[in-house]
Symmetry: C2
Amino acid sequence: MQTGQFKLGNFQTQSGDVLQDACLSYETHGELSADKSNAIVYPTWYTGTHEDNRGAIGVGKALDPERYFIIVPDMFCNGLSSSPSNTKAPQDRGRFPSITPYDNVIAQHRLCGEHFGIEQLQLVVGFSMSAQQAFHWAALFPEMVKAIAPICGTSKTSPHNLLFLEGIKRALTADASWANGDYVDPPENGLRAFTTVYASWAFSQTFYREGLHLTVGGQHFDSMAEFLEFFHGIFARHDANNLLGMLETWQLADVSNHSKFGGDWRAALSSITCPAIVLPSKTDLYFPPEDNEVEVSMMPSAELRVIPSAYGHAAGFPGLSTAEDDEFIDDALRELLSQS
Amino acid sequence: MQTGQFKLGNFQTQSGDVLQDACLSYETHGELSADKSNAIVYPTWYTGTHEDNRGAIGVGKALDPERYFIIVPDMFCNGLSSSPSNTKAPQDRGRFPSITPYDNVIAQHRLCGEHFGIEQLQLVVGFSMSAQQAFHWAALFPEMVKAIAPICGTSKTSPHNLLFLEGIKRALTADASWANGDYVDPPENGLRAFTTVYASWAFSQTFYREGLHLTVGGQHFDSMAEFLEFFHGIFARHDANNLLGMLETWQLADVSNHSKFGGDWRAALSSITCPAIVLPSKTDLYFPPEDNEVEVSMMPSAELRVIPSAYGHAAGFPGLSTAEDDEFIDDALRELLSQS
């Protein structure tokens, strides 16, 4: 494994703002082959950093570093790539520019080309917000991407998903100590509300009915309160402005939001001609299978393969997911890689 | 229609507190027959007052005031029955006692017996929190209740439902102006967060995907923002402490929480021997059909009849629901009343 920081310079965003001295953080696994033909991109998701992707990468897995060169670019606003928390005035904190999934993908594309000289990707795989980036990759660079595997994510944030996000955003910012992002003390009460609401969305009704929240990621919890404390920790390690920045990227996700497609969702999805296995979780409450079903019907070479899990959205979250769900996903990745 | 205020005196609650000078507000429709055999109880739900039940009552409907005497008792904390907003110190505002569904049902039972002299109910029907009260009625007074129709509600608040409620409670109380219930100005930001999160739960993903939120209850909205403003209004007419009081009742809902059952959920449900048609909405996100399925399996004379609706929880909400869903429910009530 190696980490790096790729300097993007002054980076033009889709919002119209230029992000000054932009930087893309990343981690790589394995070695790039001499002909540069073995690369995979696997971006990070909401709350994730490149460290969190490690759980899905390993010898013997589909994402095998002995065979592939796996690049894990950190999403803007995750605290490692350019983010509200690490950017200088006047673009610091709440003044950080809006970032779209395309902004992330364009930065990642530059990393692949300018830094590594890669012209082809065997696979772009992603979970949740990084599944959204996988859709964007395939639509914008069809000649470069040989296959995609979006896990628990859509090409465009649905109205319901957008509303879920609006709710948690309002919960966080209802705390007056947030102060439009210029807080002195972190907005602790707002963040508690945020993570409590989030916990009710991230797993399924059945997950809680069956008490599965009492054993997650190999850890045991004696009560719902203990589980919530654990879940809160996933978010609490992040700066509140970073959380809001990534949330905005999520709300803005729309594969058709590019001059190439001019807002035509069908055109954008039709342009994804590479093989795709789209992997929603059966019980995902904010990226439900029905949303992917509509998308797959517009994609020429895509298959919908629903993860039969009670874990809700977390079915695809390495570290929170079950061994069974991990294997289900790994099989799909292996299948795509064997074809590409 | 007639409204009334039934004086309960000093009312012993399950929490151990005695609610001083307690009062149960109610409305009745139709006339009580000479032999007092035509009574129906239909309590109010979260955010509801007796005015909101009127939409489901009318000549030609199952709940026909020309045939039945329909009592609509206002739930404690709804602003009309004893509530944080209308109770004197030292039990005012955040100091109002915890109220359980059983407290409501016991007060309603006294209204029926002491005030009206009713010994038998043809039906207890309820939506959401009032569905919870219907379960409680049948378990506690099996000799009195001839049938129940719980619509979009369970006998016990599930862990997931409890977490959903905890999330919105934290969203409201993250607003420092709430001041533990002793607010001077209402906690407007907290309430906005509360209702935004609530809106994402109250209807289904499909409801929003298909744009059904743009036409609700006969009203047209030009945008999600306009719809949210309308939805916000359902809650904003209530005092924040009342909203939190009813929310606590909801969180405490457990049909087995009575000395008669001693916490044995199966025993409580098995004791509901009257005919029951349990009516969840197929797409309800916090009272999902699966929760009722488990319950019905423990009830000797119950049938699960899923409302095939995209309206989520609101499928059973008179005024927000569709004519088709209303009719589906009305048919079930008619069937129960024809048997009883």
